[in-house]
């Protein structure tokens, strides 16, 4: 299946791209907010022009209940129908939606109290109550759903009164505010018939109501006329249609079949730029892609071998050739947005990586005891063009250095089962990605904490000092203390080369000129209507 970036990974290691978090202003690249005047008719289904938008995703949504869903396409639709206590603005500032103000933090981050705004109602008219919010945050744990892992730090959630909810956590957790963006569902309606709620008629408090859908074919949502908040959407109906194949998806943009197209392959970026009736709207997402080493077993357990591989190939060239412009080169094991927000020393980290020097690589490999003469490096890659190409570049580098490499492209099920076993028979290296919220914890804890070895940490990188820093930073609330611990940990990780950071992906859209006010969003993928924008179609 063709490359569609992290967004389609139904089973990206649990950390689906759903968390929204405050942080520093996003890099809004191309695409101005207000599109310039449309340049006249261009085929397409003019017809009921007015308020109808067609948006093409790479994969079809499969369910709509935020409590259970765990894949990005479903989340994109659900985000229009449901709302959360908080949302994050274009530049990732905390914006209350169902909440009426900022959360109160007590017991140094172990208790969070969220005030609710009383006049929010669900689409069936029922008011949004504190018990609905409590229900929405405890249901995943009780029903052991697939995304339960994202709320497992919560001990108890109780409604203090009609409009306030109190969250008690298992431990002091400074970063919990990033988790207050989970959608709220009407408890009574969902309990009646969970399956229907998930597959036929989800009811939320968001500006769009669910109309109809056929899996793999289309999903249709339409404006909720008497939406409690404002602005009421300009768009009357929005239709999501899945087009799996990259090039074809781009063509449906040109032919007018779709107004907006998601996930643009690198090579089609320029094609859209050259289109007279469409342009690219992209923003850097909160994602981090990397080459990881098996520090547990096999030749790559020796740091010198890892350093040799760093010499053997050029990550800059690989990213420049196979990822840009849909992604941005990254030198730290956290997304660029986050490095900026936390003012991490990225330049210093960039110098740690070596430039390509095949002779040096060969010397290091020949000299390293752990490397047999006929060593064949096993590199496993997920079914995704970009990461496969990176893997091939690494393999070619190793072959240039006089050894041989075997790049194996696995399906998601086999890959997920194999990449975190720590055994040299399964892999010496692998390329993967991670998406989280702009808090270093959501990356370093899951990717490097020894606690997570075999779960989401495939490196088995053992350095107690680094592990200590990560665990303490996770608990601390003081931002300065967390920042210095993270800098320590990251610097050591980079020097030991447990990972070679590669790139971060942008949320990229091809948008026809007739679409006004469409906004790409770092973590919510895109916004159709919000405090800052309200999409309309000429």
């Amino acid at each position: 299946m063709s490359d569609t970036g992290p967004s389609n990974e139904r089973t990206v290691p649990r950390r689906a791209l759903l968390q929204t978090v405050g942080g520093v202003s996003a890099l809004t690249l191309a695409g101005c907010l207000g599109g310039d005047g449309g340049d006249g008719g261009d085929g397409g289904d003019g017809g009921d022009g007015g308020g109808r938008l067609t948006l093409s995703q790479a994969k079809s949504p499969i369910e709509f209940d935020p409590i259970v869903l765990n894949d990005v396409p479903s989340a994109e639709v659900a985000d229009q129908i449901f709302e959360a206590p908080y949302r994050f603005s274009q530049d990732l500032e905390l914006v209350p939606v169902l909440a009426s103000g900022d959360p109160e933090i007590e017991r140094s981050g172990q208790r969070w109290i969220v005030p609710l705004n009383g006049d929010a109602t669900f689409q069936n008219g029922d008011p949004v109550t504190a018990s609905d919010v409590a229900y929405s945050y405890t249901a995943p744990l009780e029903e052991e759903t697939e995304n339960a892992g994202e709320v497992n730090m919560i001990e108890t959630v109780e409604p203090v009164d009609e409009t306030t909810v109190q969250f008690d956590l298992a431990f002091e957790f400074g970063a919990f505010k990033w988790y207050l963006s989970r959608s709220v569902v009407p408890e009574s309606v969902r309990e009646e018939d969970k399956d229907a709620f998930n597959k036929e008629e989800p009811v939320g408090s968001g500006p769009f109501t669910f109309e109809d859908w056929s899996e793999g074919e289309f999903v249709e949502i339409s404006r909720w006329e008497d939406y409690w908040g404002e602005p009421v959407p300009n768009l009357e109906t929005v239709e999501f249609t899945p087009v799996e194949e990259g090039t074809t998806r781009i063509t449906t943009l040109e032919s007018g079949e779709n107004d907006v197209v998601k996930d643009i392959p690198p090579q089609s970026w320029e094609t859209i730029e050259n289109m007279s009736n469409a342009s690219v709207e992209a923003v850097e997402g909160v994602s981090y892609f990397y080459l990881a080493f098996n520090c547990n077993e096999g030749p790559t357990a020796d740091p010198q071998v890892r350093e040799a591989v760093d010499y053997a190939f050029s990550m800059d060239d690989a990213v420049e050739q196979f990822v840009e412009p849909t992604g941005v080169r990254q030198y730290a094991p956290v997304p660029g947005v986050l490095s900026e927000g936390w003012d991490f020393p990225v330049d210093e980290w960039a110098d740690i990586a070596h430039d390509k020097d095949v002779d040096r690589a060969k010397e290091l490999l020949d000299d390293a005891g752990a490397v047999p003469d006929d060593w064949t490096a096993d590199i496993i890659v997920p079914p995704d063009e970009k990461r496969e190409n990176i893997g091939i570049s690494v393999g070619n580098g190793i072959e240039a250095a006089g050894y041989s490499a075997n790049v194996t492209r696995l399906d998601w099920p086999q890959f997920l089962e194999q990449y975190a076993t720590g055994s040299a028979d399964d892999y010496n290296m692998f390329t993967l990605g991670w998406a989280g919220s702009p808090d270093p914890d959501t990356f370093l804890y899951f990717l490097f904490a020894q606690e997570q070895e075999g779960v989401t940490n495939g490196t088995y990188y053992r350095n107690d000092q680094v592990d200590g820093n990560i665990m303490q930073a996770r608990q601390a609330t003081d931002r300065e203390e967390r920042r210095s611990r993270y800098i320590d940990a990251i610097t050591t990780i980079l020097e030991d080369r447990a990972h070679i950071p590669s790139y971060g992906l942008k949320n990229s859209f091809g948008v026809r000129d007739r679409v006004q006010d469409f906004v790409a969003h770092p973590t919510d993928q895109f916004w159709l209507v919000s405090g800052e924008n309200n999409v309309s179609v000429q």
Partner: protein, 359 residues
């Protein structure tokens, strides 16, 4: 008042050895040449090649098949030769960088010489990535590797796949068919029920699930065998029907009467006589096997990057169709020409080996 010849009763037919006696025998209605032709057909390779030479389409098919197999052989030898020479230190003098370049240019184009622009069009054409050069007559792929070189090495996979699958199918089918055909009775029923069941699962569905089962998504050897195994039912049915007809032949009865053991009969009578249709079907199946595995690698099963395979090239080229059309055209053509070659050769073989089917 028919004229009865001296030999055995009219029904069993004139004994050819006694010359053309007037008695109405089974072969009576055919000229001497036709009868010789029939005998020759079953055994005479000389005769077959003679026929093949005369039939233009078969000759064309033979040429194409020969060419592609030669290319595949060169590609295979090339890689082995390089390693062999490397062992003798022929390339010792080179620096690491030159060594990699030499290996890349000489052997399988896995490593791409740095700096070649990507997605170049064929020589003489131009696109946004640059102008087609003679160095890369058919253009370059999405990693800047030379497409012609990739096609040449792709032929190695295609031919290997085609032959292995066809041979596996033939051998399996012949054994199953011959045994069940000759022994008949319960053995036949059991085997045929199994063949029938395997045969009734649509071809690609069976291959897909077998490949998924064996976790062989990226293991070409297993896939080749699986494709071969899935051909077994077809060959089994072919052989079985042929065995039924041969079993009734007089000389087989005579052999059995003379106490020749059954396996010997199968080996010396039944199989040589059934080899003609199997050979023809085998040649045609090589072509279909190449098509099937191309389809499988198009769907992502089969060859592991960076080994070049035509199907995989096609599926990658889909993402670059707008930028460079030629990247999708060449692999398709390569598959087409090879399979046409095998089909032509197969048809030619059938006409030559089966005189009755002269159309």
């Amino acid at each position: 008042m028919t004229v009865a010849g001296h030999t055995s009763d009219p029904e069993s037919g004139a004994d050819a050895g006694r010359g053309d006696v007037l008695a109405p025998g089974r072969d009576e209605g055919r000229t001497e040449r036709e009868r010789r032709e029939d005998v020759e057909a079953r055994y005479g390779w000389r005769y077959t090649l003679g026929q093949l030479r005369r039939d233009p389409t078969a000759a064309a098919g033979l040429v194409v098949v020969g060419l592609v197999t030669l290319v595949a052989a060169v590609a295979w030898v090339d890689a082995v030769l390089f390693d062999f020479l490397a062992e003798f230190g022929v390339f010792a003098g080179l620096g690491v960088e030159q060594y990699a370049l030499a290996k890349a240019v000489w052997t399988s184009p896995v490593a791409e010489p740095a700096g070649t622009p990507r997605l170049l069009p064929p020589v003489g054409l131009e696109n946004q990535f640059g102008e087609g050069t003679l160095a890369h007559p058919l253009g370059t792929d999405h990693r800047g590797r030379d497409i012609l070189l990739r096609l040449v090495y792709g032929s190695r996979v295609a031919i290997q796949v085609g032959f292995v699958a066809a041979v596996v199918g033939m051998l399996g089918g012949t054994v199953v068919g011959a045994v069940s055909g000759y022994y008949g009775g319960r053995v036949d029923d059991v085997l045929m029920r199994f063949v029938e069941t395997l045969y009734s699962i649509p071809f690609l569905v069976l291959v897909l699930s077998l490949v998924a089962v064996l976790g062989a998504r990226e293991n070409l050897t297993i896939i080749m065998f699986v494709v071969g195994v899935v051909y077994v039912p077809e060959f089994a049915r072919l052989i079985r029907s042929r065995v039924f007809s041969v079993r009734e032949e007089v000389y087989v009865e005579a052999a059995r009467a003379a106490g020749v053991s059954t396996p010997a009969i199968i080996r010396r009578h039944v199989i040589p006589n059934s080899i003609t249709p199997v050979l023809v079907q085998g040649t045609l199946r090589v072509g279909t096997a190449i098509l099937t595995v191309a389809g499988l690698s198009f769907l992502g099963f089969g060859v592991n990057p960076p080994t070049p395979s035509w199907g995989r090239m096609l599926s990658i080229s889909r993402d670059y169709m707008i930028q460079n059309v030629w990247f999708s055209i060449w692999p398709g053509l390569a598959i087409l020409i090879t399979v046409v070659g095998f089909n032509l050769f197969g048809d030619g073989l059938r006409d030559a080996l089966d005189p009755r089917l002269k159309n």
